[in-house]
Amino acid sequence: MSITVKDVEHVANLARLTLSEAEKEQFAGQLNAILKYAEKLNGLDTTGIEPTSHVLPLANVMRDDEPRESLPLEKALRNAPDEEDGQFKVPAVLE
């Protein structure tokens, strides 16, 4: 299995990245090298082995469903690149 420039373009779109032609070539080569290295995992039989997502014996940590103080608007917007009327502003989504 080998990653082509076309695959790189597809993954870049999924990752919301725009790459230059040079970057596409470079990433195709580097990702191929890294994934080729990762193929060594296929040499291990993992039939019936449970996946480890993280090491602690924890699942679904819940808290009581009680309202708590939330972030003040001024703080929430402090780093906004653009804002209007107390909201984050982005280019029009609909024509």
Binding site: R16, A33, N79, P81, D82, F88, P91
Partner: protein, 484 residues
């Protein structure tokens, strides 16, 4: 910097007797930074006014009740948020980011009354092992300015080694505290996953990230850990365990400790001089009445591939939040929302970050998930079992922290895979989630070598006890770089 060579208890004794003020400590830190940081480049943001104000407040208010880290000047890795103090993750994307809250560890340092003097350089979003991936500037190793300090907590390590701060905080995902500590000749501790809250640590790989101290000796590491450890309801992966008194573990005694030494950590690719320093350290443990024997962690060879698939996958998901809408640097004049996302991210992220996002997105994408991500999670189980089995028989596992000493700046930049292989001794430990410390164990051609002491989950006390006992028999931790 003579003040910073004093032990914590001596500093506190002098503060208590008013032979020394917090203001003097902070001025000494700022002066040292002024003298040395033009060459070293450890800091991204200095907060001189804030540090002086904190010092004055502590000097003025000092009563008999004092925090554990009272008055000690500290540096914080720049992926740990500090309210009102710029936090960049060494990324152009966050070059203007002004945090609206303190990380839990930062609040805990405030409770312990240390003084934050500034934010420390790192590889962008903690991705790298050399600090060459900082988008601002390269940090240089105080022992040899042509060499890297290690990474990703390179600024944190260099700053302590150069005597600029008394201690620092770093974060470790695959070795990012331990490896730079080794390269810079200081102590670096990665706690058990879940011991220290990650709330306010900008996430890289959430199942692996852990905050820990970088210090000049083991005792200081125990005190800083004491200050930052503990359950935090705001981090759902924070472990609800009771926190022991770490300092009481520092008995100076290593008698009877059973140590396993993995043959995989001393095999091919390990510099002979590094191996020699580790063997010398094992003889020191023998002389103290500890016993060691060679063991095998058979899945070690699979750890790096496992790590880069898992960490990159988690990173690609975590870094999706950087979209240019709520914070960070937005690209100029995007035509539409999709272009806003794509251009902001492409202009804001550096090459290593893009590479890992691409790798992780690919590994998680439709059709490849089972082959890469799930497979890596299964191999992670096998790697963790290696450690579980070893710890049935041994109290500690010991080996080198890194296969070599610090390499030259620029030497490995073009070859990401070779760079990744530097992490062979630290990554398996991260995947298993167990605690490990790197302590200085001598020099190789004038450069520091780190000894890695690995313990059972939540058994930091035994790790610290062994490290402290070793340190007490040697003088390696007292070596300082000859900075002008």
């Amino acid at each position: 910097m003579s003040l910073f060579n004093l032990r914590l208890s001596e500093v506190h004794n002098r503060l208590h007797h008013r032979d020394l003020s917090v203001a003097e400590l902070v001025e000494a830190s700022l002066a040292r930074i002024g003298e040395t940081d033009g060459d070293i480049g450890a800091f991204l943001t200095l907060d001189e006014a804030g540090a002086r104000a904190q010092a004055k407040a502590l000097d003025d208010a000092a009563g008999p009740e004092r925090g554990l880290l009272f008055g000690l000047p500290a540096g914080i890795k720049d992926n740990i948020v500090t309210e009102g103090l710029r936090t960049t993750c060494a990324s152009q994307f966050l070059s203007n980011y002004d945090p609206i809250y303190d990380a839990t560890v930062v609040q805990k340092l405030k409770d312990a009354q240390s003084v934050t003097v500034g934010k420390l350089n790192m590889d962008e979003f903690a991705m790298g092992g050399s600090n060459e991936n900082s988008s601002f500037h390269v940090t240089r190793n105080p022992w040899d300015k042509d060499r890297v300090p290690g990474g990703s907590s390179g600024g944190s390590a260099a700053s302590v080694a150069a005597g600029q701060v008394y201690f620092s905080l770093g974060s470790d995902t695959g070795g990012s505290i331990r490896q730079p500590a080794a390269y810079c000749g200081i102590v670096g501790l990665k706690p058990t996953y879940g011991l220290v809250s990650r709330y306010g640590l900008v996430a890289f790989a959430s199942s692996l990230d852990q905050i820990g101290p970088l210090t000049k000796n083991v005792e200081d590491a125990a005190y800083v850990l004491q200050a930052i450890a503990g359950h935090d309801p705001r981090d759902t992966t924070s472990a609800n365990v009771s926190i022991p008194d770490y300092a009481s573990a520092l008995t100076g005694d290593a008698k009877g400790l059973k140590i396993g030494v993995p043959k995989e950590y001393l095999g091919e690719g390990i510099d002979p001089q590094v191996k020699a320093r580790v063997m010398e350290a094992l003889r020191v443990f023998e002389s103290m009445g500890a016993v060691w024997e060679e063991i095998s962690l058979p899945h070690t060879d699979y750890a790096i591939a496992t790590y880069y698939l898992l960490a990159s996958s988690e990173a690609s998901s975590n870094l999706a939040r950087f979209d240019g809408v709520r914070y960070g640097v937005r690209a100029d004049n995007p035509d539409n929302l999709l272009e806003l996302y794509k251009r902001s991210r492409s202009e804001g992220f550096g090459p290593e970050v893009k590479r890992r996002i691409m790798l992780g997105t690919y590994a998680l994408s439709s059709g490849y998930y089972d082959a890469y991500y799930k497979k890596a999670q299964q191999v992670r189980t096998l790697i963790k079992r290696d450690f579980d089995q070893a710890f049935e028989k041994y109290d500690l596992i010991i080996g080198p922290t890194a296969p070599t000493t610090a390499f030259r700046i620029g030497e490995q930049v073009g070859d990401p895979l070779t760079m990744y292989l530097n992490d062979i001794c630290t990554i398996p430990v991260s995947l298993a989630g167990v605690p490990a410390i790197s302590v200085p164990c001598g020099l190789a051609d004038g450069l520091p070598v780190g000894l890695q002491i690995i313990g059972k989950p939540f058994d930091e006390s035994t790790v610290l006890r062994a490290a402290h006992a070793y340190e007490g028999q040697t003088e390696h931790h007292q070596l300082r770089p000859a900075l002008t």
